[in-house]
Symmetry: C2
Subunit: 242 residues, 2 copies
């Protein structure tokens, strides 16, 4: 089985994803927030690129059954119901609702995923659930890190490396890796005992702490704390039913 | 002193480079070829983005004093004198000439470098010369890896990591690093004893061997084998005279 990791979504076209399993990672914070929203009973998450698109979609689906969530530069978007903190996505706020969601980096991978056979949203909070699904699917794997403003992000690369490490060790599968996948593995294995500290002192971890979201960083690095499996069906992210 | 590494040039704007030392790295093969051309007595290298631009510039400077060099998909460009193999840039071919040079990845960093105080071209073949220059300059440092088709390249990241390692250990300087610089350091330190093998079995190393340029890869990984210092002056790359 071939496993490719990409440090940023930029160079990956739809062609590369045809028939494969696609794992989308944005540890800080979109992946974590999506997991939390589904755990709290949201019916679905619809990732969109722009705030204007979110508002338009809301008026089509219906204001009473939808929630607008997301951020720009880390901060809740004007006129939106919720930002991008996992803790905001409580049962009271989202149960039974469809969350229309747009973030700076994390929601950008979804729009090129059309040809993938299986699309999974992964963070550290649900890593073991993702590993099991991906290993059982057995198809070639593409791991797309959201990165940060077009640049590599250490927390996403670490998460991708951990995913590969667990497939190799827990599932004893043989993987043919690209250079970035080797890099992700090396990064994870060198930091596995200090994962939380490495992410907290990384660039985006420090930025989030500075603007008051340090507790989001703490939540996002709790391994397997939200063991749900978000998969994409027709542009909607829902809980896997299998 | 702050030292930032970027795995790909994409997200780095001119503003970020103002007043800093900029190191441009494309180990396979532009950096190596530039070093070889200058060692063979080329008057200057002028990096340009497109082949058409190269031909136009040649007709302005004069056909008899210029050489057109470069590649697309690894292969010499139609109508050009030379490709991107260091071994082509012999004294017979380039002495006293100005080389107008365009490659898929390596020449792309130069056009955004205007505001930098010092611009150095680095490969493994001249790494110690670069380290000395950069350390003595003492300004904040940006290392821009050319990468491969908009994606990270393992050989450039290794070279950037080695450069940082040598500043830290040989020059005992304290550096404030960004996340990608930490990653480059980790990659270098984990591979320092198998540097040549790691690069040869990397994606671009394998590709070059496949299309018949395996000896270029071997030449590019010979540490300090071409100890020249290419610096940029007014869009021309020349030998440093200090």
């Amino acid at each position: 089985m071939r496993a490719e990791l990409f440090l940023i979504p930029g160079p990956v076209g739809e062609q590369r994803l045809l028939g494969k399993t696609l794992v989308l990672i944005d540890v800080l914070r979109a992946s974590t927030t999506i997991c939390q929203a589904l755990k709290s009973g949201a019916r679905a998450i619809i990732p969109v690129l722009e705030p204007s698109e979110a508002a338009e979609l809301r008026s089509k689906i219906g204001v009473d059954v939808t929630i607008l969530g997301g951020e720009r530069e880390g901060i809740k978007i004007d006129g939106f119901d919720l930002g991008n903190s996992p803790s905001e996505y409580t049962i009271e706020k989202v149960k039974g609702k469809t969350v229309i969601f747009t973030t700076s980096n994390g929601t950008r991978g979804y729009n090129r995923a059309a040809g993938s056979k299986l699309i999974v949203t992964a963070g550290l909070v649900n890593i073991s659930s993702v590993v099991q699904k991906v290993a059982q699917a057995g198809q070639d794997l593409v791991i797309l890190c959201a990165g940060q403003d077009g640049d590599f992000s250490i927390e996403d690369t670490l998460c991708g490396g951990m995913l590969l490490h667990k497939i190799l060790t827990d599932w004893k599968m043989e993987l043919e890796l690209n250079d970035a996948a080797e890099l992700g593995l090396l990064l994870y294995r060198s930091n596995s005992r200090v994962l939380k500290q490495t992410i907290a002192r990384g660039e985006h971890g420090r930025y989030l702490a500075k603007i008051g979201f340090g507790s989001d960083v703490e939540a996002a690095v709790e391994i397997d704390s939200i063991p749900v499996l978000p998969i994409s069906r027709d542009s909607r992210i829902v809980l896997d039913e299998n």
